[in-house]
Assembly symmetry: C2
Homo-oligomer: 417 residues x 2
Amino acid sequence: MASSVADACRDADLIVEAVPERLDIKHRVYAEAETTAKPDALIASSTSGIKPTDLQGPLQHPERLLVVHPFNPVYLLPVVEIVGGQQTSEDAIQRAMTFYPTLGMKPVRVRKEIEAFVADRLLEALWREALWLIKDGICTTQELDDIVRYGFGLRWAQLGVFDTYRVAGGEAGMRHFMAQFGPCLSWPWTKLMDVPEFDDVLVDLIAGQSDAQSGHIPIRQLERIRDDNLIAIQKALQANNWGAGEALARHEAALAKDAPEPDWSKPLPTFAIRVPAHWLDYNGHMTESRYLEAFAFATDGFMRMIGTDADAIAAGHSLFTAETHIRHLGEVSRDEDIAITTQVIEAKGKKVHLWHEMREGSRLLATSEHLLIHMDLNARASAEPPPAVRAKLDHVAQAHASLPTPDGLGRHVGQRR
Amino acid sequence: MASSVADACRDADLIVEAVPERLDIKHRVYAEAETTAKPDALIASSTSGIKPTDLQGPLQHPERLLVVHPFNPVYLLPVVEIVGGQQTSEDAIQRAMTFYPTLGMKPVRVRKEIEAFVADRLLEALWREALWLIKDGICTTQELDDIVRYGFGLRWAQLGVFDTYRVAGGEAGMRHFMAQFGPCLSWPWTKLMDVPEFDDVLVDLIAGQSDAQSGHIPIRQLERIRDDNLIAIQKALQANNWGAGEALARHEAALAKDAPEPDWSKPLPTFAIRVPAHWLDYNGHMTESRYLEAFAFATDGFMRMIGTDADAIAAGHSLFTAETHIRHLGEVSRDEDIAITTQVIEAKGKKVHLWHEMREGSRLLATSEHLLIHMDLNARASAEPPPAVRAKLDHVAQAHASLPTPDGLGRHVGQRR
């Protein structure tokens, strides 16, 4: 932990400024940062609305300042708005556009600087209309939120605004959609020409309704619910390889590629995760199918180690699971860290026989025995693996031949000890 | 299929009107409907914006007309806005509020009638701001959509607008949040005071950008992607029992309660589903953990049949899976209908030994053998089941004793035939 701004910035390549939204405070922080910062260190302001041109004015190196606007909660929402000012260099913008994806973020470059950029303008427009609806007693905050989260919010989470309307327009296309709905712009469908007065009466009304809606849930718990849902939604989109889920898949694949060479002489570390809320069931523990999901991820991890990665699969070679035997030995709950190791029992011809063990710390939670078959995806038939995979498999099978036989191997369901 | 409006309405309890948004057409349809409709049949207009008072004017029974405004795609988005006019009876409103949940829908009653109701006002506000952003060249339609779907869209899908801000306000509460952001209302953060001219130049700009963004995806495919994502997101929220997922869970539980008594002498039909897109993996078929998820749902179905339902679990009795052996015998892909039957092998003392078979039509896809243990959830220890469950289990175990032993029972992984 650095004790001053100057200290914190000394060896940094990227300086993230997230101080209050006052130009004088921000300028003071930049001045101190520049006393120690390397001349080409980026300065990324988290401002929600101030133009970068206004921020960079007094800097010694104004060309390295840009806005990188994240969204709450920043540790789960991938998007950042990238906005350059009049003096920002193209190099600074490009470095930010290249760096943020390595964190699993999604940078979107805003083409011209304006106050509030893009997202907060959209949010502000909807917010003003929402204030009118509450003030005029058309609905309560609870009813408005329900209309959003049981309705168009589910569309925006995956398609955004224009693609949603593109689909709604159907085969006739976007032009047709707009021709149909364009006239609404002159209808009295919003009060956008006007802004409600933000007086105590309105504040009391909204605060009171919000308490009635969610006052029974402590803020920390509501925050946790929000985060659990953000994770569940993004993992769901990942299964469809779409939107925020596609970014997540790309990020996980990049991390997997960077994995160090394992110690082949031991059971291999093939998967680890902190148990998310949506993996639990009505019994309050990780549900049985998530055990197999974790074991399947471990199989995927093993496959990458022997060269059956995404490229190999695209080229037509994969492994299919033929048989699985899971023994549940312990319960596990949310936020516990589980890790799986994998031992090769046999790998001959078209078959691979694996043994996975799942642990939380030293506690054995489950074992899973798998029989996998090498597949030619083009012929959709079993096949010998490619030579490079064969070589890797032979190597690990030989290394694991001297490991002790796992306790529980080769058992059938209900077999007595 | 009825050949006329009069025909279609003859024996209906609910008449859904979804004709074009022109008052003269709607009035003509209502007049024909009333020639045959029962006097107390509800007439629900799908209008997106016309006030029910304007719709019901000429009706013989205006008290039975109300607006029930659904959202595209209506077969997947749960919300409907319920709006009564000056002559709508409270009884008509209450019947709609009671009926729609039986379809798994979420009715939200709008308190006062206004044009465009609630959702379309919010959408219109955001749409007007979006048009300005595109027209002024701040971003493209693609960039705007990315900012929504990688950002606040993920929040709105689960919390809506006010609860999102409630969490953002933190412990200080909603009043604090509003005090902080209230002043923005007078800042130039939107162009809401003004409406862009909807001329050919703007239409061409948006249509062109939209084509560049998604023109490579045929509309039908984009629609399918949207629907796949809506299903995946709502199932993800169901795992957290929240928002649209909570409504789905409640609906599925209600359907399960209505299930007819099974024929106990045969393997029991315990689960069926059309394979959704997010159950597939990189090999293009249903992924292995979803086999176990389906088998776990079958176990849940069996548990409900023997009385270990949600109420029993709340009272502290459940079944935990100790061991599972799955054999994958066939592949299955999206939109195929799979069904699982369940045979009791043995049910003595604290143990239940089950055999599930999964089929697509007559094609056997997989078998799964399970050892389950009765649990006392309060003591978190194995226990004898309650007497009512014991009696049901004895009944089905005895009925299944005469069924043939399943092919594949008691095998271990890799066992030769």
